[in-house]
Symmetry: C2
Subunit: 207 residues, 2 copies
DNA sequence: TGGCTTTCATATCGAACACTACGAAAGTTG
DNA sequence: CAACTTTCGTAGTGTTCGATATGAAAGCCA
């Protein structure tokens, strides 16, 4: 079941050069997945958006699943940097606020589709794509665990009350972040979402 | 573009009786949509789950879209009853708690798929199914507006502080409710989700 | 210029998609 | 029982799905 290796990444020994910019094509694919979801985006949709033909897509990106996973990586950005930003925040509350307010900006950008690619693209799907959904869920749990650790640090240092439920608090932030995606998809304005985030942060324990 | 009328609802003048129970078949279709989503559920999936053949499905339910909308109605239940329950609650906080805790029970039922049918089934989709998504979004906005009215009543009666943002507070409840669906789909346990709800309700304004 | 390698465009592939024609079968009504 | 209405099972409609076979075209190096 070994698939042919996509040629965009490996070293190549002098041949006809690519007639398109790989990064640009990937970004357009990412936006298409973002708008329509994983299984509900067809190869025809992708080639139309990317401006390339079907064999070029398969030659450069392997297959639909690998193109999607590359799109997810482009969307999610540097996860280690996110983890470090959470760790380096002045407080867990600051980290949560930054995460949520940043999500609102991302979900309501004028140049990008509404909502979150991770939340939208894999909310549903056939059993055949369960591995793709698990991959996306892994990104969520990565962020959640780092946030929970940051909260635990604030508890240990006395910034948060000792009885604080770090898991539930981190879970609330992740829950709100996912919910914001649905609201953004429903067309809610950026200011309304920001007001929701401000309200949600009122749940933060005070000592 | 007039479609043939599904025969399950109209009066019929004596013919061969249905060999299956329409309500049972509808419930199984609803569960299938719940698990796999709208566009990502095929007619073959549905007939297999419902135990009927393709022509029977079309004869009894019209087409895929109408079958889905009937499934949504079955899932959502009596919306007017929900609205009255919100209005009749002792306080807006009670209404919100009932909504969210009920959602957790629904999203983590052992006999039903994880998460929310409305949140999962239409999170993504092609432009062709935008009308289906709008129909689902309408259910959300119906609940949200009734909750917001209940909150406004508590503000007027002095139960909530006068500066309370009713729209943002109702929006937070809806946001958490949608987010809970994603977390449940990721496999989070019922108790964890209940802890998240309890934490979220700490955001409720106190006078 | 003559290989050599890789990408290009055209034209599909078999499978799955939503959906339906048609005649046999199963009831009710006279 | 015979006429009538409706559903059932079989088989198929055209379309779109993800993914390819094939050969010409384009560039690098000798």
């Amino acid at each position: 079941m070994k698939q042919t290796e996509p040629r965009g990444r490996g070293l190549k020994k002098t041949g006809r050069p690519l007639s398109f910019d790989r990064d640009t094509a990937l970004e357009r694919a990412m936006l298409t997945f973002w708008r329509h979801g994983y299984e509900t985006t067809s190869i025809t949709d992708l080639t139309a958006a990317m401006g390339i033909t079907t064999p070029s897509l398969y030659g450069a990106f392997g297959d639909k699943k690998r193109l999607f996973l590359e799109s997810v990586a482009l969307y999610a950005g540097d996860l280690e940097a996110t983890a470090q930003a959470i760790a380096a925040a002045p407080s867990a509350l600051d980290a949560a606020r930054t995460l949520l307010m940043g999500a609102v900006i991302t979900y309501t950008g004028e140049a990008t589709p509404p909502g979150c690619l991770l939340a939208s693209a894999t909310a549903s799907g056939s059993p055949a794509s369960s591995d793709v959904r698990q991959s996306v869920a892994g990104i969520r749990s990565f962020v959640a665990s780092h946030l929970e650790q940051r909260i635990a640090r604030d508890i240990a240092s006395g910034v948060l009350p000792p009885h604080t439920d770090a898991s539930a608090l981190a879970g609330l932030v992740m829950t709100v972040m996912q919910g914001l995606s649905v609201m953004a998809r429903d067309g809610m304005a950026r200011a309304s979402l920001q007001a929701i985030v401000a309200t949600a942060l009122q749940a933060w324990p005070r000592r």
